[in-house]
């Protein structure tokens, strides 16, 4: 109970229209942890979320922002700027003053895919400094009741004999990239059917309107006992919340994608401020309370510092680059 009310106190502060402002005042606590002698933050910080309120990046960023706010005693004003697979919000962030008072969050693969396939993208990979990440999540491949597939091999065998016949519900370019990577690894051809979001894909697969669907791992619990089989996860390593679902890699198909949310600042932000932010992210996210909140949301905690997150992103960048080199139309389907 105590945990819940504390959480509420944090989140109550995020109450303001569309999340456009966030004015929780800190009652005296905070500032206990000095950030390397730096006076940052001296005023409120704008936190740009390039997605609509309520999505995965948004929920996680709000949790993080309210914890940082509590700890630092300065407001973190959430601004949702959705559109264009995060391009709209990131355009604004890239153009903001690099003084540490405008930061943002992004989702790894969406960001990289925009860089490769977006139109009139005014920023590039180096327009941001990547400060850290706190979660990891993965998508899974599900098949409908009518399809009759019980394991990945059955599905692949069928797809080999019937190229293009199996339909896959996807939502967003990240899923499209994952399907393309899987096709490449398994030597098959599928037909993607774009949906508006996870709920739509779930409806399509449960209604049997499509044969397969790419969905977030959290949907596995939701379809339990309804005849929907989850064949594999796209993640490189097994996912702790769904231990029974094999990875594609373990089944012999070289696909390893994961989704994580990255905290970013415009490139050129003073190094000591960036370090202070990374340090603070690590500090607030390592508390039991924070991790309990994450677990409640079905999120898996994994902290990455600046170097680690850049390394991961570089790998993702190369993966997409390679995919497009082998098949320039892989994302255009």
């Amino acid at each position: 109970m105590k945990k819940r009310s504390l959480f509420a106190a944090i989140l109550a502060g995020t109450l303001l229209l569309g999340g456009c402002a966030n004015k929780t005042t800190n009652d005296g606590s905070g500032n206990g942890s000095g950030s390397g002698g730096s006076a940052y933050p001296e005023k409120s910080v704008q936190f740009i979320i390039p997605y609509a309120a309520g999505g995965g990046t948004d929920t996680l960023a709000r949790l993080l922002a309210s914890s940082m706010e509590q700890s630092w005693g300065q407001s973190f004003l959430i601004a949702n700027k959705p559109g264009g697979l995060s391009q709209v919000g990131l355009t604004e962030l890239a153009g903001a003053d690099a003084d540490g008072y405008t930061i943002g969050a992004l989702s790894n693969l969406d960001h990289i895919l925009v860089l490769f396939t977006g139109e009139n993208v005014s920023y590039d990979y180096d327009s941001f400094d990547y400060l850290g990440a706190i979660n990891t999540t993965a998508n899974v491949l599900m098949v409908s009741k009518d399809s009759g597939f019980t394991d990945l091999q059955e599905m692949i065998d069928y797809a080999k004999e019937h190229p293009g016949e199996l339909t896959v519900a996807v939502s967003g370019k990240t899923h499209v990239a994952e399907v393309s990577l899987f096709e490449q690894a398994a030597g098959i051809q599928l037909t993607t059917v774009m949906q508006d979001g996870g709920g739509d894909s779930l409806n399509a697969i449960m209604g049997g309107h499509v044969d397969c669907a790419v969905l977030d791992k959290n949907y596995v619990a939701q379809v339990e006992g309804q005849g929907i089989n989850t064949l594999a996860t796209f993640a490189g390593e097994p996912i702790s919340t769904i231990p029974d679902i094999p990875t594609m890699k373990s089944l012999g198909y070289d696909v390893a994608t994961e989704t994580y949310r990255v905290i970013v600042a415009p490139a050129g932000t003073p190094k000591e401020i960036e370090d202070a932010i990374t340090e603070k992210i690590k500090e607030v996210s390592s508390t039991q309370e924070f991790q309990d909140s994450m677990a409640n949301m079905g999120e898996i905690y994994r902290f990455l510092d600046q170097d680690q997150v850049k390394e991961r992103l570089d790998q993702d960048y190369e993966m997409i680059q390679q995919l497009l080199e082998e098949n320039p139309d892989a994302l255009n389907r």
Binding site: R4, F7, A8, Q87, T91, E165, T191, G207, N218
Partner: protein, 496 residues
């Protein structure tokens, strides 16, 4: 367990949260540019600290209240606060101008109440069955439902065919701009970064409805208040009797509303448009539609509130939200570790039934508040327009901005305000444009999904649609609807 649920729902604290939700909902609904989606999103963080039952009762009460609240500004100011209320404005506003605002408001709240109760009761009784039925609606079926929605344009267009079609065509065209929802490529963005995200419905409809109406008031100088006539009194009993007399229309509209609410991705706005078209086709006062027909308020208002209960059906039983608002309520469930789906009913039955019973209480609270507040609301009409115009404009701009926190949307709202003023000057109806915008992208996405699936299965789209029993039934209904609407439109044209 029943006793436990009843004591939860009727505990003083739960009633206070319920009342708070309903009142905030009515306010959010009535403000142009704000709606239930914004209200629920705003209140969501507050509910994290409440018990799941209390939080859900408050949010769903807000949803119910907001669905009715839109009609208040639609009737009084001709500025529908939500897409759901666009049809209500067509008859509510003329009634208000005849001094019959209290009558219009009473019918609105009473039919909203009926629709709300109907939808919730259907949800309570038939959720498992209906959710399985809803799953049968795939892309081809949803495409045909969208076409059904577009078919009612005949009922909305007023005097001129060509102007009605022009309006709906503009709406459809607007829905194309931005990122193509299927291939994620850009269309008609003219290399403009702001256009890449497309037009949001809120700034466009706020501009076309609210800002245009205020600009129109400014142009019609001389009047100090919106109506010159005195507000006529309207006893509550008369409203109750009048509503009861329309039981057939209420039931029909509520059924339409509940069904549309259950279908994924639809929502109250489409429900109210379809039931409005259906009411006009069959109503005895069909010739009064657009000039102040009570049936024209009763039908959309009962339908959009019935859609509230409907939208909870797939949400609770399958975890698939039936509308944008219930998608946010989904978040309220999962934050407490409750996963919507069949297990929700066995593992968290107390919360589910508290939510259902709470919604019934919300609906009753909404009717009581609505009836009590009707005399107060109708006083708005006597307020000096010099006070009303700046207030409505301020809320409109605020609402347009808050849709996506984007200053570009403020510009969109203002430009569409001017376009709306032109519409009014040339007597082009506005509602078809909004209908086109709501349905355009939905129809397109579902058609293209259907085409993709048909092609993958080596079938052509016609046999794909005709071989699915449900699509075949919808297709027949659709043809009847088009025929009926065409006849109605032709008849009213001949009478002119």
């Amino acid at each position: 367990m029943l006793a436990e649920v009843i004591s939860t729902v009727f505990s003083p604290l739960a009633l206070v949260f319920n009342l708070l939700g309903v009142v905030l909902g009515i306010i959010f609904g009535a403000m142009p540019g704000l709606n239930g989606v914004v209200g629920v999103a705003l209140l969501l963080p507050l509910t994290y600290g409440l018990s799941p039952s209390h939080g859900l009762i408050m949010l769903s009460g807000l949803y119910m209240g907001a669905t009715y609240g839109g009609s208040i500004s639609a009737i009084l100011l001709n500025c529908p606060g939500t897409g759901e209320a666009a049809c209500t404005a067509l008859n509510g506003s003329p009634l208000a101008r005849q001094g019959r605002a209290k009558e219009a408001l009473s019918y609105s709240v009473l039919s909203s109440g009926f629709g709300g109760l109907f939808g919730v009761i259907i949800m309570m009784l038939f959720t498992p069955f209906l959710s399985q039925a809803a799953l049968k609606f795939g892309p081809p079926e949803l495409f045909l439902v969208c076409l059904g929605g577009l078919a009612v344009v005949g009922s909305l267009m007023g005097k001129s065919f060509s102007k009605g079609f022009l309006s709906v065509a503009i709406g459809l065209l607007l829905s194309i701009i931005g990122m193509d929802a299927v291939s994620a490529n850009y269309r008609f963005t003219f290399d403009n970064a702001s256009l890449q995200a497309g037009f949001d419905l809120i700034p466009v409809s706020v501009g076309l409805f609210a800002i245009a109406e205020m600009l129109n008031l400014i142009c019609n100088q001389g009047d100090n208040s919106i109506i010159s006539e005195k507000n006529k009194p309207f006893p509550v009993m008369e409203g109750i009797i009048g509503t009861a007399k329309r039981w057939k229309l209420l039931i029909k509209s509520s059924i339409i509303g509940t069904i549309i609410g259950i279908l994924p991705g639809t929502g109250g706005a489409i429900a109210s448009f379809i039931s409005y078209g259906e009411a006009k086709r069959t109503s005895k006062e069909a010739d009064q539609f657009g000039k102040g027909a009570v049936d024209g308020i009763v039908a959309p208002e009962s339908a959009n509130n019935a859609a509230v209960g409907g939208s909870f059906v797939p949400l609770l039983s399958l975890g698939i939200p039936g509308s944008a608002t219930s998608a946010i309520i989904f978040g309220a469930l999962t934050i407490h570790g409750m996963i919507p789906g069949p297990k929700l009913f066995s593992e968290h039955a107390d919360v589910v039934y508290a939510l259902m019973l709470g919604l019934l209480v919300s609906t009753i609270l909404m009717v009581v508040i609505g009836l009590m507040a009707t005399p107060v609301f109708s006083k708005v009409l006597n307020v000096d327009v010099k006070m009303i115009i700046p207030a409505v404009l301020a809320f409109s701009i605020f609402g347009a901005y808050s849709a996506r926190n984007n200053p570009f949307d403020v510009l969109v709202a203002i430009v569409f305000g001017l376009i709306g003023l032109l519409f009014k000057r040339f007597q082009i109806p506005i509602a078809p444009a909004v209908l086109g915008m709501i349905l355009g992208s939905m129809a397109e996405k579902n058609l293209r999904r259907a085409l993709t699936i048909a092609a993958a299965k080596g079938s052509d789209i016609f046999s794909f649609i005709l071989l699915r029993p449900i699509s075949l039934v919808i297709l027949v209904l659709l043809l009847l609807l088009i025929y009926g609407n065409f006849k109605t439109a032709l008849r009213s044209k001949n009478e002119e």
